[in-house]
């Protein structure tokens, strides 16, 4: 479109297209508000479920092999978002945001006729807005043959290869657990101001860390308990700030921990034997995870699968 086109006015075709786009946009807003899937997304997922349109998978070609060997059939790419405004608490918002997105991801997977979502990646769209953040998830909805029937699909933040690796050993990754906590400390007795002291521990702040972390991990355990036996915590994010209060300085500590929940039979031996291998890949290898599984927490740069 050139500047000239802009002054020409719009033809009927353009207007009809815009009206269709507006209707679509309205349908998405309504669907989010009523906690259901937008109709056209549901239709696309149904088409993929019924084999009317090509399947889409975030899996790598090497992972496609497990389609053959482990009875995992890719169906569709599923995704979910929740953009949250922090009126009350940034920290606890993380729990609320991811959990809303997880619920929506599960609904998309159900519409695709899947019993599991593999390779779930956590994303945050890089748009800066005040006091708010985007929580997005994307993964591949699959049908795993021989998985016991369950009402809600399994949501696994591990790549497909890791998923079957765990399955072979009788361990089922079932979901994501989140523990998030923050606490304020007001510096009443000046315990955090040790300018005149020598080398010494800042106990007030050490203790603050302990309390915040313990609580976050406790929340993580509670969240995981509802889903399965244990957690593999892949993401730890923590920050501490000093803020000017009215009379005293205040300190804020926050801790967010995110984990993949796994279900296992305890004390059962790990069945297959391991063999050493020569890896022909250059760079990251699927043997140690295929890609970064989140980019939402900058301070935790550890890559790869959990």
């Amino acid at each position: 479109m050139s500047l000239f086109d802009f002054f020409k006015g719009q033809d009927a075709e353009t207007l009809a297209r815009q009206a269709a786009a507006d209707r679509r946009r309205q349908e998405i807003v309504t669907a989010i508000h009523r906690q259901r899937l937008p109709k056209h997304i549901e239709a696309r997922l149904h088409d993929s479920r019924d084999g009317k349109s090509p399947w889409i998978a975030t899996l790598t070609p090497a992972e496609l092999r497990i389609v053959r060997s482990h009875g995992v059939r890719p169906i569709a790419a599923v995704s979910a978002s929740c953009w949250l405004h922090y009126g009350f608490s940034w920290t606890r918002g993380h729990r609320q945001g991811w959990q809303t997105a997880l619920r929506r991801l599960g609904e998309e997977a159900k519409a695709a006729g899947a019993n599991a979502v593999l390779d779930v990646k956590m994303r945050t769209v890089p748009i800066e807005t005040e006091d708010s953040m985007d929580f997005s998830l994307i993964g591949t909805a699959v049908k795993v043959a021989g998985l016991p029937p369950r009402e809600d699909p399994i949501i696994a933040t591990v790549p497909a290869l890791e998923f079957v690796k765990l399955l072979e050993m009788g361990i089922v990754p079932t979901g994501i657990a989140i523990g998030a906590e923050y606490k304020w400390l007001t510096n009443w007795q000046g315990g955090a101001n040790l300018f005149w002291n020598g080398n010494t521990e800042v106990s007030a702040l050490s203790n603050l860390w302990v309390r915040v972390r313990e609580r976050a991990l406790q929340l993580l355990r509670e969240d995981a308990e509802e889903q399965g036996g244990g957690t593999l915590a892949h993401t730890h994010f923590s920050e501490m700030f000093e803020c000017e209060g009215e009379k005293q300085k205040r300190y804020l500590a926050r801790y967010i921990v995110i984990a993949t929940v796994v279900n296992q039979v305890r004390a059962k031996s790990i069945s297959p034997d391991f063999r050493m291998c020569l890896d022909m890949r250059s760079g990251p290898t699927p043997l140690s995870g295929t890609s970064r599984h989140h980019q939402s927490y900058d301070s935790t740069e550890r890559e790869g699968a959990i």
Binding site: M1, F6, A21, I28, V29, I32, P38, H40, I41, R44, P54, W55, I56, A57, T58, L59, T60, P61, A62, L64, R65, I66, V67, R68, S69, P74, A77, S79, S81, C82, W83, L84, H85, Y86, G87, F88, S89, R92, G93, Q96, P126, I127, T129, E130, S132, D134, S136, T140, P272, F274, R275, M276, C277, D279, M280, R281, S282, T285, L287, S288
Partner: protein, 271 residues
């Protein structure tokens, strides 16, 4: 500029190894491992295929407080990538390649003009060593794929072959919060449904377009889907959702499925 190759490009391609010139020299950007696995998969590299395009992106009018697709920008990103890709494919065709492996698609912004973008597609043209033509795309031309040599081998040994590098793009303007500024006084955590809706719409458009390309290529599925969220130095609320993957078809005669062994469990002992 059409897709007819310039004379110097034809000259360069002539010296390359083809079925007609078995003694020619091949060029590729393969690593050692990639090279070995492409050979092992029964293919031989012929030459580097390159396509590029410098593109001027038109002006897009948008309203400050509305979620909307910026169709002028979407079309620009699409058209420019398509030009780069089709020029690369024309080079591959001219050298008689059955396909292009390891396509890298890059976008650069020109320093002097923020409306000017450079698109480049680069990959290695390969031929089937035994002259099997069943690996070509649905239109009889070379297949394209962003898979590395290793992934190419793995894909063939999963019982699939690459058909086409498929992509879907949607450049989207996320509404500013002017109308929502009263939220500043709300002390609950609440979802900004309008923002969520923007993510949903933009991502859905990108995925749908990619899926439509795969259906056009008569593919059975798409492997290696990745969705990039890029801003290409546009203003802060404009974002591109770019879905890219390789459309695949099952192998029928090329490798019989029963010949494919089950993968072996190994655990990498390096970190």
């Amino acid at each position: 500029m059409s897709n007819d190759l310039p004379a110097h490009a034809r000259e360069r391609l002539k010296g390359l190894r083809t079925s007609a010139h078995p003694s020619g020299v091949f060029t590729s950007d393969f690593s050692v491992n990639e090279f070995l696995l492409v050979r092992k998969a029964g293919f031989e590299p012929i030459g580097l295929c390159v396509g590029s395009c410098v593109y001027h992106v038109g002006i897009q009018y948008r309203s400050w407080s509305k979620n909307q697709e910026l169709d002028v920008l979407s079309k620009a990103m699409y058209h420019a990538r398509e030009l780069a890709m089709s020029r690369m494919r024309a080079e591959a065709k001219a050298m008689g390649a059955d396909g292009i492996v390891g396509v890298k698609l890059t976008i650069k912004r020109m320093e002097w003009d923020r409306h000017m973008l450079e698109f480049m597609a680069l990959g290695t043209g390969v031929v089937h060593a035994a002259g099997h033509e069943g690996f070509r795309a649905h239109d009889g031309g070379p297949f394209t794929s962003d898979l590395s040599g290793q992934d190419f081998w793995s894909l063939l040994h999963s019982g699939y072959r690459p058909v086409e590098l498929v992509m879907g793009s949607c450049v989207y303007h996320v509404a500013h919060r002017g109308m929502l500024s009263s939220l500043g006084t709300i002390t609950r955590n609440i979802e900004l449904e309008n923002f969520t809706a923007a993510m949903y719409e933009a991502r859905e458009i990108a995925i749908e377009r990619m899926q439509a390309e795969a259906a056009n290529a008569k593919a059975e599925g798409v492997v290696g889907l990745d969705i990039h969220e890029g801003s290409h130095s546009w203003e802060s609320h404009v974002i591109e959702f770019f879905a890219v993957g390789t459309a695949v078809l099952p192998l029928h005669q090329e490798i019989a499925p029963e010949k494919i062994p089950d993968p072996m469990m190994v655990l990498s002992v390096n970190d």
